[in-house]
Symmetry: C3
Subunit: 422 residues, 3 copies
């Protein structure tokens, strides 16, 4: 018996039982998910393609982006799938409590739209996972995921519901949060022996694997970074050339980050960023937040028309003011708002970005300290970046360690994990 | 010339010509598929995303789930594609005859909705394929597919149309049927030399391949099994916690099956289940049928409302009864039904499950006996699980047999199949 | 520093800047793409699944179809992605000028529908790319792409807008054009040393990679060729059996092409077709054009009804004729047409096919001559089909050259490109 794996299994089973009980007490199917005839309701039909694309990205895309490590393909894909399945349920519960139970409802609704939101919440954790990949045990990842979901959802609630800072593509609340939370955890878990780990690096074929998601590292990062950088302003009326320009800037930031900033973080700040999430999610997420704040600050109804009020509801004039009467007359606006000026809205956007970074970094650091507790089975030295830590791998075809060291010393269960030794 | 491959090619070409003739005599485009403008009709637009997802699953997903065998990647993917293409057409014809021509129509309609049903029918055969993978020749698979499509579609017609036993996710009529039909074939084709085949087992990289579909074996099976287990009751009003619980039970069954039942079937009952379809489709399919029967038995209009009549049309009261008048008044029900009680409906659900298992097992066993005829080129001994049986494979990069035996003895065409020998 | 790679980077950056400026001057979001609320407009919702499927095919599918070369996986996928990103923008600009700016509009609209068209335009170039894969530098590919997009879009405008020759699946204007343009380029770039290149050929695993798109070569080609062969007539009322028959003929043509025509072209005509685009896109594209012309020539309102006028608007009778009055009365036709007979329409269809082939072949040949200029860094001899020409590849796991020659002689930057030498 391998006690670490047994312990993880027990924790996972207990958690799953707890989740089922919570869903039993607090969850019920929403109207559109009620079982009737086999024909799906209209809103299900219209949302289905979006949901499938996001769901496949979460469960397959993220896993395969992480298979580039030479001897960590099994762990990356499997643990990604396992953690995503847990996080999805937990995010559902946390969101249900924040957005429904805390508002006095007895139950939270279960339907496709909320499952899409839970999928996005799972993405936050998987981004952080990219920063600590290969250096953490499944137990650590599970604990990290449970804490991070709560913090990231509370942060989103502060930014979106309390501050009215919009982020339609979730570049601040998901991408930037996930990246800096993960990097803070990686910094606290930093281990001098990590540099010695022989297994890091990719072999030719496994690098092609990760391209099923997107391809070779620089091209891959630059491409995705462009999308992240436009997330906050995606529903704002910037012109095509501006979108292209911001995308290009993000691409350049990402490549420069990979070439110069990642090595600097590793050698000088002791932040080892396995998948380069700073380049792909962190810096582009910050850029997205700044771009969103700038566009908010220059918004005006002369050039944006009614869409300014639709995008930033807080800028709608306050009730019983001349401005609100004018807005009603000109744009058929119904609900009064907070009467914010564009500049103030821009300030709130920046505030949400700063709060996001602070919550992510402090939250990640505290979580990292917790994960150093021995009970969570920190992974060290030669056991890092190695599938054999958690999987039974046949030796034939498995990329060998250059040192010729085939086995991982782990007391008396080495043989059990190494079928090829039999 | 390799006579076995030539024979297979001739059979495949003849079959294709026969299919075209049958489609010419009996098929015509349905209304929604009639050619008009390049803009697709509304029902095509709404069904397109579902069709694409299912179609990709059938043609790509199933193939890649089967690539985990060390030296059988080419065969699994190619033969899967070839057989799926044949089965799709044949299932279309069989369904057209059962559901249209047998009802007095001169033609059966060809449109996207029916193609989706034919895709599902192809899935039945591909599941059985998973039980016999690597142990059967393409000729055997083709014959098996032709017989199985007829039996499975007749079985579905008995269960669905005659018994009124619903199975919206086809867990009984597709998953359980396909699994036990395939296992029965595998049992009859059982060959003492199979145990000696050196090629079975997976190498590191090919195991990652099969994860494009879903990942490492246990996680993979447990994940998919959950979906299968809910297939029959997917349109019934069970609550989220119940769906989660049934999914977990299916996951446990699947893992236990892989760990204990598959080896037991192999060693004691001489049923070698290459892909473990019993764990992924068989047992979860039975569980789905039982869950569906239980829910049918406890259904009542007090808690389910009108949806009970929508899900189980046979439970609608009979014409000219007081109950039917009440149902019309309360739920605006239009068509009278068979007046079944919930308990009786549950009994019919169980009956459909039992009939499915009986037809699958007896049909599979008889089919297996037929496949033992020498003309179908049974695959034995060292030739099992080996791509070189049907493909010309360059030796470099091909996983070697530990015994050092590079060639397959096959008379005078060994050199032709082994380019590397030149 | 590697001057060739630096030069390519500079050209790529300059081009991107130019594209952004053109989009700034000429582009503006179309009505359906205007930023409003996060809810997508109806036409976006209905077009989204089609766009995603095509977009994934262009950016992922094409790249992976090309990864079958033993040591060219990185180049095929990365350069495919890079070129596709450039071509998409350039095609957008070229189409915008041809279809909007040239008609007196100040701006061209940017929206999902036009992006789908630009994706298809990119496909033309990627098909040509398949003919020259491994034998061209990225600089050459970029120049080729820029020229080909202009020629192919002008050709489509001549055929579709000027001649009224319909091709709903773009088998002539995209598949045939792309194939013969690429083959003409390959012929002009032909290099006696190509036959000596040791790297061509595929290893077992990389052949499986390319199956993510479709599987082993013959099955793969035959399957796809069937779709291409029906592209021109896809919206015409041919019956299911005719579609099946044409698909089978295309499959046979494709397999015969791969087995006999590709080697013949290579050895006798000095046309080396890396991916066999003649079999998959060229000949099936010509077949599609001929089938389309035949169906046009036999079209009549007796059996086709109103759809004849919908599919071939040029066959609607001319204004102020008795025939137009009859067409209005019988089919509620609104717009008068050119009064073409079916035979004449068939002739125009054939004319469009011939013009497409002439423009593709002459255009490709002239482009090939241009690409021979030394400034475009022609790839020759041992450097062909080798990732190390443009990527830094770790030696472990990289398929070795049988000659034992590990390095590519390239002056003083060999060490930089070969990390394994350190």
């Amino acid at each position: 018996m391998n006690w670490r794996r047994t312990k993880f299994s027990i924790v996972a089973i207990v958690l799953q039982v707890v989740f089922i009980i919570i869903f039993g007490v607090l969850g019920e199917y929403g109207e559109s998910a009620r079982a009737k005839s086999p024909t799906p309701a209209y809103d299900v039909a219209s949302m289905y393609p979006y949901f499938q694309d996001v769901h496949v990205m979460i469960f397959i895309g993220f896993g395969f982006l992480m298979t580039f490590l030479k001897r960590y393909g099994f762990s990356a894909v499997s643990v990604n799938l396992l953690v995503a399945a847990f996080v999805l349920q937990w995010a559902y519960i946390v969101r249900g409590i924040i957005h429904h139970v805390a508002h006095g409802h007895a139950k939270f609704p279960v339907h496709l739209g909320e499952m899409l939101s839970a999928d996005f919440a799972a993405a936050t954790v998987l981004i952080s996972f990219g920063a600590v990949l290969g250096k953490t045990s499944p137990s650590q990842l599970l604990v990290m995921a449970i804490i991070e979901v709560v913090l990231s959802q509370v942060n989103e609630w502060i930014g979106l519901d309390k501050l009215g800072a919009v982020d339609v593509g979730e570049s601040m609340y998901i991408h930037a949060f996930g990246a800096y939370f993960g990097l803070a955890v990686a910094r606290v878990l930093h281990n001098e022996k990590a540099q010695e780990a022989k297994s890091e690096g990719s072999v030719y074929h496994s690098d092609i694997f990760s391209m099923v998601g997107k391809c070779t590292v620089h091209v891959q990062n630059a491409t995705l970074a462009g999308g992240v950088a436009l997330g906050t302003s995606a529903n704002m009326p910037l012109q095509p050339w501006a979108a292209m320009l911001i995308g290009c800037i993000a691409g350049v930031i990402s490549v420069v980050g990979y070439q110069y900033i990642t090595p600097f973080l590793d050698s000088k700040l002791k932040i080892h960023d396995t998948c380069g999430v700073n380049n792909l999610h962190g810096m582009p997420g910050i850029l997205a937040g700044i771009v969103g704040a700038i566009f908010a600050a220059i918004a005006n109804t002369d050039s944006w028309g009614e869409s300014m009020y639709e995008i930033f509801p807080m800028t709608v004039p306050m009730v019983n003011t001349t401005e609100f009467a004018e807005a009603q007359a000109e744009f058929s606006v119904i609900e009064p708002g907070a009467g914010r000026s564009s500049g103030i809205q821009g300030g709130y956007q920046m505030l949400a970005l700063v709060i996001t970074l602070v919550v992510a970094i402090i939250g990640g650091a505290v979580t990292g300290l917790l994960l150093r507790l021995p009970c969570f089975d920190n992974v060290e030295g030669n056991r890092m970046f190695d599938d054999r830590e958690f999987f039974i791998v046949e030796a034939q075809g498995f990329p060998h360690n250059e040192s010729g060291d085939e086995t991982i010393e782990d007391g008396n269960d080495t043989k059990m994990r190494m079928l090829s030794d039999n």
